[in-house]
């Protein structure tokens, strides 16, 4: 996903900051690219602030951001899984109390 030569020059890691409580997450770039929102914000061609600083602030609680990143990692891990490989269900790992908020964040982040 992040195999553009352009991006290869950049750091393989990006920083995601939760604006609400200041937690920051350092995630591999290709994991972050699983989200359409993050992909666009780090797109060097578009040249937005995020792209130049490799940092993106998100207006969500850290716990939500963490879960989203967990999902993206999960997605990245099994994206190339063969058809016969068993893919664990991610739903079991979603705590019901944040489900709705997570859903909205996911909608926003295109995850």
């Amino acid at each position: 996903m992040a195999e553009d030569s352009e991006q290869a020059k950049q750091s393989d890691w990006v920083k995601i900051i939760s604006k609400r409580d200041g937690h920051s997450f350092i995630v591999p770039r290709d994991v972050a690219m699983g989200s359409g929102f993050l992909r666009n914000s780090f797109n060097p061609e578009a040249g937005f602030l995020e792209g130049t600083q490799n940092t993106c602030e998100v207006d969500d609680r850290a716990i939500i951001v963490e879960k989203v990143m967990e999902y993206l990692a999960h997605k990245n891990l099994y994206a190339k899984a063969g058809p016969r490989e068993e893919i664990p269900d991610f739903q079991e790992r979603i705590p019901p109390d944040i489900a709705l908020e997570l859903l909205m964040a996911a909608d926003f982040l295109e995850a």
């Binding site: 040249g47 109390d97 996911a106």
Partner: protein
């Protein structure tokens, strides 16, 4: 986790999500967003936070302001495009009609570059807008059934820049493109990339019916312009270029137009352009090009310009396939062959040239120079072979062995060969010459090649029966005079003819070979027989020929044998009759030859002369050396017919070896001449072969005779054929009968319907057939 999953099942303790962002003030969000959009358009995106602006869009859509957002963004783009157009395109408009192509080219280039710049800027900003407004694209555009922002941007570009109502961008750009192409066609270099980039815009834009704008805005105008250009071009080229150059230009045009279409227009335009070039440069001028004086197809063939011919072939066959190219080319090919053939026919055989009187006159002069006539005949064949070789080479290298061209060549060769009524005779003479002398010093393989080539000519002949007749008489001469170099070569040739024409054709010739073999056997047993009886004074060698196998055209001539010969003949006749009763032997002195020892003053020479010449010489044996015999004397005592006698006397008195003296001396024999024995004759050779003055190319009379015989034979064949067909069918209509007979006889000669009709009438008279009541068909009468 998918956004389209809907609301999850209600579960206890779900906290309501906090509203995103602090303010939900739509107006405020829009102000910020519109500011951001302008920043993006001014290429200052790096100062913007993607997250923030994305959120503005997100909020606006979320709070049901999608419609508002969409419309306003479009307005912003609209304004932006107007600004760009005014800035980059309008100033580059062509000032006026400049005659100077360079200035025009530069202006056009400027305009195209301007357009491209606007396009690039617009696209770059649109990509960023699309990123920021992704949420709108995903959620609002889909449900509102409006195009996403990028297609919407393209449409805005089309409406607002290209099809701008307030300034003539469209006309100017199309003009510029066409201008550039025109400049390039005129042979100048242009900035192809600029045109390519400009055309690309048109290829990427689509109109309402999802058709690329290129096909409505550019292609038709371009094609019209192209047509106009090539109409003029054709006229110009036809006046200034020869055929080879013309075709070279056409090819260049085709190539460059194709390259142009692929490189900076659309590949799909290529066939249309090709068709236009073809329709203007080739189809209307096919015949003109082929027959261009001094440079057309004929001239190319003359100069062996394989490349030019090949180019013409390619252009005519590949490009003008359906507009008569192949036909025109083949016609040119045929005409070229025919005119060459006619030339060969005329230069090598003046006999066929003019009306009858001229023919007679020439015929006479020819009789005087038979050797020359022979060489002309041989030259005719050689020339024909050369012509065929030439065209074979052209066919192979320039025409890539095209089947239809091969057919045209064959047809044309055949028709010119058959235009020469003496073709069968000449070809047979050629074979004769090759089997007789030519083979000496040539290897078997070479012989084979020559003969194979000759066979290809033979294939063209329609009058095969006529060839058969000549071949037989030439073969007879070779066999009897023992001149054929190798029996193998003879049989090889015969085998080839057999392959061509079947067993019937060569049956009689094989019979001739057989007779030679049988005669050899007969002679050896005759010698045994002589050993037991008293041998006659003269030793003879007899060839017994079956009369139906051997041609007897010239053998009617008889003479009075001197007693020595009569005795010898009688001896053989007696011997032969003891072995085969009931066979009649007829002596053919015209075909024989004799070895005779003659005592001259200086020394004795052994002469090999024809039988007739011997008979004449023997007359002088009884005459004193200085005495004369008049022509009449000789004629009376030998009874040799006039033409033959004249020929023999000419041989003896006027040729290289003058055994007789003629009074008065001259080259020709007249009936008032008288002759005496030339006892002063000397020669370094002991053995002298005096061959009768050759008359190998037929004289007019012989030719007429041969023709008559052939006619006669054809009548018989036609009769036989008609009867055969009728016996099979019993009842047959006239036309069917004529067709069938023509078909069956075609491998021998080309019967004409009138002749068949006469034969049918003759058969009706002889009561083989009868007319039916309908007057259109016949019954077979058993």
């Amino acid at each position: 986790m998918s956004s389209t999953h809907g609301i999850p099942r209600p579960k206890p303790k779900i906290k309501p999500p906090k509203p995103r962002g602090p303010g939900t003030n739509v107006q405020e969000d829009w102000v910020k967003l519109s500011h951001a959009i302008k920043e993006i358009q001014n290429e200052r995106a790096n100062q913007l936070s993607f997250e923030e602006n994305y959120r503005y869009g997100y909020n606006l859509v979320l709070y049901r302001q999608g419609d508002f957002l969409y419309k306003n963004v479009k307005t912003l783009i609209d304004e932006y495009l107007t600004q760009l157009t005014e800035e980059f395109i309008v100033p580059a408009f062509a000032a006026g009609n400049h005659a100077d192509p360079t200035t025009r080219g530069q202006e056009g280039e400027l305009l195209m570059k301007g357009l491209r710049k606007v396009w690039d800027k617009h696209n770059s900003s649109m990509r960023k807008l699309s990123d920021i407004l992704k949420y709108m694209d995903r959620v609002y555009s889909v449900s509102a059934e409006v195009p996403q922002i990028i297609p919407a941007g393209l449409k805005l570009f089309l409406d607002n820049v290209l099809h701008r109502k307030t300034s003539p961008v469209q006309e100017q750009v199309v003009d510029a493109i066409l201008g550039q192409i025109q400049v390039e066609r005129d042979g100048y270099t242009i900035n192809q990339t600029a045109v390519k980039e400009c055309v690309e815009i048109y290829l990427q834009l689509e109109d309402q019916s999802a058709k690329q704008v290129y096909f409505t805005d550019i292609e038709p105008v371009f094609l019209a312009e192209t047509r106009k250009f090539y109409v003029a071009e054709a006229e110009k080229l036809l006046q200034t270029c020869d055929a080879a150059e013309y075709l070279r230009r056409v090819e260049q045009r085709l190539d460059s137009e194709e390259a142009r279409a692929y490189y900076y227009l659309s590949a799909s335009t290529s066939p249309a352009v090709k068709a236009i070039v073809e329709a203007n440069l080739l189809s209307p001028h096919l015949d003109t090009i082929v027959s261009m004086t001094g440079s057309g197809l004929d001239a190319m063939i003359d100069a062996n310009k394989t490349d030019d011919i090949n180019r013409m072939y390619r252009l005519f066959f590949e490009v003008s396939t359906h507009t008569g190219g192949p036909q025109a080319f083949r016609k040119g090919l045929r005409e070229s062959i025919l005119s060459r053939g006619r030339l060969i026919n005329e230069t090598n055989d003046p006999l066929n040239g003019g009306p009858d009187e001229v023919e007679e006159e020439k015929g006479k002069s020819k009789q005087n120079t038979p050797v020359q006539a022979l060489s002309l005949a041989l030259k005719w064949v050689q020339d024909s072979l050369d012509l065929k070789d030439k065209f074979d080479l052209i066919l192979k290298y320039a025409l890539l062995s095209d089947r239809t061209c091969e057919l045209a060549i064959t047809e044309a060769l055949g028709s010119f060969i058959n235009l020469n009524p003496r073709a069968p005779e000449f070809i047979s003479l050629f074979i004769d010459e090759n089997l007789k002398k030519g083979l000496k010093g040539k290897s078997d393989d070479e012989v084979d090649i020559v003969l194979d080539k000759t066979i290809t000519l033979f294939r063209f002949i329609t009058e095969k029966d006529s060839f058969e007749r000549y071949y037989k008489s030439h073969l007879a001469r070779r066999l009897l005079l023992n001149r054929s170099v190798s029996d193998d070569a003879e049989r090889g040739m015969l085998a080839k003819l057999k392959v061509e024409c079947g067993f019937q054709f060569t049956k009689k010739m094989e019979g001739m070979f057989n007779d030679m073999k049988l005669s050899a056997d007969v002679m050896s047993s005759y010698r045994d027989y002589l050993a037991n009886t008293t041998a006659p004074a003269v030793e003879i060698n007899v060839t017994v020929m079956t009369s139906t196998f051997w041609p007897t055209t010239n053998s009617g001539a008889m003479c009075n044998f001197p007693p020595e010969l009569l005795q010898a003949c009688g001896s053989f006749e007696r011997f032969y009759n003891t072995r085969h009763s009931g066979r009649r032997l007829t002596w053919q002195p015209a075909l024989g030859n004799v070895d005779v020892k003659v005592a001259f003053k200086a020394k004795k020479h052994e002469l090999n002369v024809s039988t007739f010449a011997l008979v004449i010489l023997l007359l002088f044996e009884k005459v004193a050396d200085d005495d004369f015999l008049t022509y009449e004397d000789i004629k009376n005592s030998t009874q040799i017919p006039d033409p033959e006698l004249q020929r023999q006397l000419q041989t003896l008195a006027c040729a290289k070896f003058k055994i007789l003296k003629k009074h008065p001396p001259s080259r020709d024999i007249s009936t008032t001449d008288s002759f005496s024995f030339n006892s002063d004759f000397t020669s370094p050779l002991h053995k002298i072969k005096i061959s009768t003055v050759a008359s190998k190319v037929e004289t007019q009379e012989e030719r007429r005779e041969t023709q008559d015989r052939i006619e006669e034979e054809r009548k018989q064949q036609a009769d036989a054929c008609i009867v055969r067909v009728m016996k099979d069918r019993k009842v047959l209509g006239h036309n069917e009968l004529v067709n069938e007979v023509t078909r069956q006889l075609a491998h021998r000669f080309h019967p004409n319907p009138a002749m068949i009709k006469r034969r049918i009438e003759a058969l009706i008279e002889r009561e083989y057939l009868e007319r039916r009541e309908d007057r259109k068909s016949y019954n077979y009468l058993a």
